[in-house]
Assembly symmetry: D2
Homo-oligomer: 258 residues x 4
């Protein structure tokens, strides 16, 4: 695929030295490895290699949704790929799913969910903070996901005018307060997810779920560790992220016997 | 949604007592909680509750892709949701992606990938074992993913007639032997993934990748821990899966300077 | 060292098939590997090998404190070696230390602490349950630690007549209730430890410590994973203990400025 | 206990701002919290509080072995408390034990082992690097453990003139090369330990042990995670050490049948 004016490209030197940029015929990217003349890459294929002004090699990598998320503009703690992926794998979200997101934040989860449910599915996302909504919109646009998302600048505690969603994901400080509203918004058997950085959020939310006709309530945390694979001396990395968040999953059940 | 003849339904009593079944007007499911008369649930809505012959409550839950995978027929170790999800989140697979899978096994990964790339994407999967291909086909059919997958009963070491894929996922005992073939099959910037249960597989594969024009080689393992969230006494579960597999990720780079 | 009447010996076949027994001239140990005639091992050296009646090899291993603890009689959840070791390494307990233990339980921690502080140090341990005290006494006797421990059958909430201890270790359901009493029992700069299986115990206790002139309050959890080291195919074990307990450490500070 | 000329004291402000110092009537410690006049603390009790020249509170904490180790002079990666403690708990080392250490390094393990086996036990430690031996000696002296340790400036690969030790701990790059020598040095049923940062070291050493009359070969890794316990919002810390080392444990068996 040819790189064009307006394309996004990951300028890759090493795993720790890479820059996501939008191609513009006048842009030059200044790095401590030298200057990269972005105008000169227009017309090249993704995968090509160019040099900086100091002769360092730069791979022109085609960015994925993962790259857009990891390089997104952010004002909040984003949800990391280990958690993003598990949310999708655990709830079975897929092309065509209709999803409610409560707490847009910087839009990392929104972007990822949109990439999964598009083109026939849709994400309805709510946040009370106008700055977050604006940042999320910019991140969605860069990743070309705007068409699959409706953003609502609205306090979700005041009510949600939405129903029959396949899944609802709550990323607020007080997820337990949203449970009866989420119950109404979900289709039968629909999936509930909450992002809970603290044990207290997890405990309150799980308790509330069990008292409100949710079943299969399951709480987990994921840990990811890098491995330094080197011939004859492989070992896990010394540094590790110890915790991002706990996650709760549940399914909506009927609230009465027939 | 109404349950019909031929529908799949998860008969749910508790998280540990649940059965995935296909609805048939003559079927009765015998459990230690009593008999469930499946013919009687035709015409009910998902989310309804019925009783066993012993009066135990059973929720009629609509199964998701996660449920189909976790209840799939298997003859091999399946890839678990924590790893399935991370593969998708890390490579940025999405609707429309074209994916090469080497090592079909029981088809758990195949099923999940198909659910993500459908309807316009496709999975090309290879296995040398005819029994595995048959099991995978049955699992794909149950999950309604057959149309998005081409299965090849073929030893991938003997060559792959496929190209320009967005991602290639290798789940063989000797992933390092497939690297030059995968290189040719991938599009520029395409994503490589290998499933490596042992450190030796990881080490050999990572070394081979670095010597064959792959960049951004990253090795990880994911650990998942259940949390028992109970009011005033929350704690992680005593039992935990300590290891499923290591994972390698890499991106295809050009093999020469222009 | 020669095995004698009354000696303890670990009859070792494999890591999962081993029996700790007291040597007695009339004893026969019946196992599914055949009968082991214990009288016949009197006079042998530790490290010798004998055969069962079915010809299976049995190593006569000299038991360590670790072996006594892992094979101890128990009615409560014991504290595991990963936690035992860290308590000693973190508090700097050593030969000569004087230790208060609140909650004797089955005496696993008591036994280990005694082995570290003996012969000039001492353990003062309290439990309200007479059954636990009896079990602990039997476990201490087997491990030859009785001389270094004073057991108190007494509810520690009702007061502790002890002072100037180097360290105090609380293993009760409500550790936060003991903090002011422990403060008085500790010498200046003395170490506080609490065993807290749940997050709520940890949170309440840490909060209480900070409000009661304890400093350097540090909360941790330890995870241990077995590795299956096999030539060319090493990997972590699939099964793992996910959680035993959280631990809190703190140091006693002065309660006023001079 | 009264602080005297020559005493060590931990000048503690917070868990991250603390300094281990030897008391000297002319010493002043300069910190970004102001100057601490060490001469003025002579005659005070441990546990007292003083102020810096800027009025910040400093607790005079009595240092433990843990404090000496964590603040030791080092030129090598030290072994951390989680691993130190587990080595002692797993091997059952205690007062009176005789221990062989191969690879003195900076002496952290040496110091800890000495504190456990003293006064009647002893540590025999070998290192080929004179700089390491010097550093270890200084660290042992600060912690008052010199009398319980014999340091050998000697390449352990060239032979060890020592026998009948209760335990041997190998902390070299090639632990598998020492196994037959360690076998001869150990008493019957004696404990073998190796510190193996990489999986390859672990695999080679475990294989060699099984072929050289060692039994109960057990490989583990320990992970430690800090918990931020705060009222109503407790959670694991975001940062974590992902790996320090793998550990192998084994017991010496007889090499022939009687």
């Amino acid at each position: 695929m040819t790189i064009q004016e307006g394309s996004y490209v990951m300028l890759f030197h090493t795993s720790r030295k890479k820059w996501l940029t939008r191609v513009n015929c006048e842009k030059k990217v200044h790095t401590h490895l030298g200057v990269i003349d972005v105008s000169s890459i227009i017309g090249l294929e993704y995968g090509s290699i160019v040099k900086t002004s100091e002769g360092k090699l730069i791979h022109l990598v085609e960015p994925t949704i993962h790259d857009f998320i990891m390089k997104s503009e952010r004002r909040t703690q984003i949800i990391y790929p280990k958690d993003l992926g598990y949310i999708v794998a655990r709830t079975g979200l897929k092309n065509g799913s209709k999803v409610l997101e409560i707490g847009t934040g910087s839009g990392a989860l929104t972007t990822f969910l949109a990439s999964i449910v598009k083109p026939s599915g849709h994400i309805y996302t709510f946040d009370v903070n106008p700055d977050f909504i604006e940042i999320a919109k910019r991140n969605l646009e860069k990743a070309a996901m705007t068409a699959y998302v409706t953003t609502h600048l609205h306090d979700p505690h005041l009510g949600l005018d939405i129903e029959d969603v396949d899944a609802a994901i709550v990323d607020l400080g007080d997820p337990w307060t949203m449970i009866s509203q989420v119950y109404r918004a979900l289709k039968p058997s629909g999936a509930f997810v909450a992002i809970c950085p603290t044990m207290n959020q997890l405990e309150k939310s799980a308790t509330e779920l069990k008292q409100n006709n949710f079943i299969d309530v399951d709480c987990v945390e994921l840990m990811i560790r890098n491995i330094e694979a080197r011939e004859g001396m492989s070992r896990p990395s010394m540094r590790m992220i110890g915790h991002t968040t706990y996650l709760i999953f549940a399914r909506k059940a009927s609230n009465m016997l027939d």
